[in-house]
Subunit: 417 residues, 2 copies
């Protein structure tokens, strides 16, 4: 097995677990920051490590266009290319391709689309999306699916779900045949070095100890002593129909994957409907495998979904909001561009111990934003990610204590300084 | 005295020294990174500390316009505002104002100018420029001068020099009367805390130890036990005329300052002429006081000027070039945007131990630049600053060893990994 998932605590439907990948362990529930083109916009990798990020998400569509899969593969896959020794997950490219409304055409075979960069024509099939993700070399990759639009009537949702199921079979078939071709998959995993990615470059003349991964102290690593490979997750579709979601879950599980994602949500439907579909879909997924809810959410939502039993989430919200000066704090949202903060000497979030809140005032952050300084994006992003990761650590801690009834309230009552 | 300057080594005309300011010590010769609006574009303050930056430069003109002197003053001066506990120098605003060719008018009294931001009208006199710099609270501030344009005939250069001398007197007079008004100047300097700037915010609930300055271990601090103030440097003008430069130096020294800057160079004249004027002007400056050459230069030039006896330099080149993908390395300049680096696995500079060269490949840096990722600016700037600071450390080391004859060659022959 190249992926192990251990459940270490429960509180109601929520679970605290540990996902053991070829590139280190991931404590769940986990929020995965988005590094679209192999960079979490504005944040150096060592800062991500310091924040406690254990897994990053990359977007296959963007990386396929730039710098191209072959370049990433030659540089050792995403881990080597972006010098990130910890775990990585890539999406299938499906969601992004389907977002190109006027630039795509879907057939049974796959999707023809035009690049948002230069208008050039490309084609993704389940097979080519797998080929791309194998070249990128993430620890966890996703089956190629059709993200059903919202709203969609039942016939449309069923047809789309059926297509996703046929594509899931083709994705798995291609993956099983080629899964040993990841840029680092031929490496025997012995010793402490993470495959394909020195944390520091030995070519810079540093001691070999510099190339150890930070997670090596745990001593456990999926696939240790064997040939580790990537792992392919299936994606549940079915629109906003509980019955179709159940059918999608059951038939995807029949195909069989080491983890399952819930796709096709956060596509414009009301928040309450999202929650209903998540809750009902989770009932049909195996309890002993990781469950990944794609593309959510606000700080409140990620807590709520973790309470429902979701193990993995990702969203551009903390990083994108940061770029627009919208900051998440224990006291609510702060729009740092507002003039009211111009002479505010206080920390952005007095209950946050991140390197931004420890050092800078709201007045300084407001000035950086108003003056259009790049450091505004850097610091704002670091804080928002810290807030999300801190939130998830509190959720996990509450689950481990088994505090079912006080779950949400525990998470939101933060210790005072 | 609020500023002490000790010379600790000589090699020919070059000197290795130590400038002791109210906010820590600065080893000279020193290159001062430019943080125009209280931020070295894209680089967090803790990274600057890690790079070994001991003094930063801020631009009075820009800070006066945004966020405004009063805001900075209320937040504890620049040190408190930008959470930088080490030394700071501000320019007088003169150079920037004179760069606004069509937007300014000079009289004996001062300069009327229009903001490049919104076209609003403002006025700088020697007095108001001092007032602004006292409110900003840098450790070293500069007399208000007229930067003579190039080319200028002898009459024009003399008239401009005379004006600068009259303004220097007015600058000093105002400064002497108000120098105790810096935002931190009323603080008794006892113990280890730097005035006006906790390195970490005690309001965030951290231990008081977090508010110590990193330089406190040195135990020596200008003005310790007394009321420290800012220090005002004079500026030598005189165009490209050696005789006027001599006269400017002598008459500025008659007014009397704790340090002297050479201004009005790097304004379009040939490189060889710059060097001639620097060399001849230095002959007339006191050997026991710090000498600051404003607005230079390339890595080769800062080594050369240090060899001539310059103690302090500043330039936007390393930070601005970084934003355009131009990187300085021990093997020469690298334009990282070039396609030839697209699959280059090597470190940017194999002889550099900065956090960028230790971790990332040229291929990754090239990708970040090509994809217009903000991280490109962050990492490129960190490397270029590291290269400049590393260069100056080597220069200083060579001077301390007294290696006059091998001065330049030693600096440029770097140890192999």
């Amino acid at each position: 097995m190249s992926l192990r998932f251990q459940i270490e605590g429960n509180a109601g439907n929520a679970r605290a677990g540990r996902l053991i990948t070829p590139h280190g362990e991931v404590e769940t529930p986990v929020f995965m920051p988005v590094g679209t083109v192999a960079s979490v916009k504005g944040v150096p990798q060592d800062v991500l490590e310091e924040l406690g990020v254990q897994i990053l998400l990359g977007n296959t569509y963007h990386l396929y266009l730039r710098p191209g899969v072959e370049t990433v593969r030659l540089l050792g896959g995403l881990h080597g290319f972006m010098a990130w020794p910890r775990a990585i997950l890539t999406d299938s490219g499906g969601f992004q391709v389907f977002s190109l409304n006027d630039l795509r055409k879907v057939t049974e075979e796959g999707v023809t689309f035009r690049s948002h960069l230069d208008g050039s024509t490309h084609f993704f099939s389940p097979e080519s999306a797998m080929e791309a993700q194998i070249g990128l070399g993430a620890d966890i990759i996703m089956a190629f699916d059709e993200c059903t639009e919202y709203p969609a009537d039942r016939d449309r949702a069923r047809a789309s779900m059926d297509l996703t199921l046929r594509w899931a079979e083709r994705s798995k078939k291609y993956f099983e045949k080629h899964k040993h071709e990841a840029p680092w998959a031929s490496t025997e995993h012995v010793g402490t070095a993470a495959p394909g990615c020195p944390a520091e470059r030995s070519s810079a003349g540093l001691s070999p100890a510099g190339s150890r991964t930070l997670n090596s102290a745990t001593g456990s690593r999926a696939g240790e002593g064997a040939r580790a490979t990537q792992s392919l997750f299936g994606i549940i579709q079915g629109g906003m129909d509980r019955e179709l979601r159940r059918e999608s879950a059951e038939r995807t599980m029949e195909i069989g994957f080491p983890g399952y994602a819930i796709g096709g949500l956060s596509v414009g439907e009301p928040r309450e409907l999202t929650r209903e579909i998540v809750e009902s879909t989770l009932e049909h997924l195996p309890a002993d495998q990781p469950r990944y809810l794609m593309g959510v959410g606000t700080p409140e939502e990620i807590v709520e979904y973790a309470a429902l039993g979701v193990d993995m989430m990702d969203c551009v919200l903390p990083t994108r909001a940061a770029r627009h000066g919208l900051l998440f704090t224990s006291e609510g949202k702060v729009s740092i561009k507002q003039a009211r903060y111009a002479q505010d000497q206080g920390a952005l979030d007095p209950n946050c111990a991140c390197r931004v809140c420890r050092r800078y005032s709201r007045a300084y952050l407001r000035h950086l934003y108003a003056a259009n300084e790049v450091l505004a994006q850097v610091l704002n992003t670091i804080h928002n990610l810290s807030f999300y990761l801190d939130t998830m650590r509190r959720v996990r801690h509450s689950i481990q204590l088994g505090e079912e009834s006080r779950f949400l309230s525990n998470v939101w009552s933060r210790p005072k300084p």
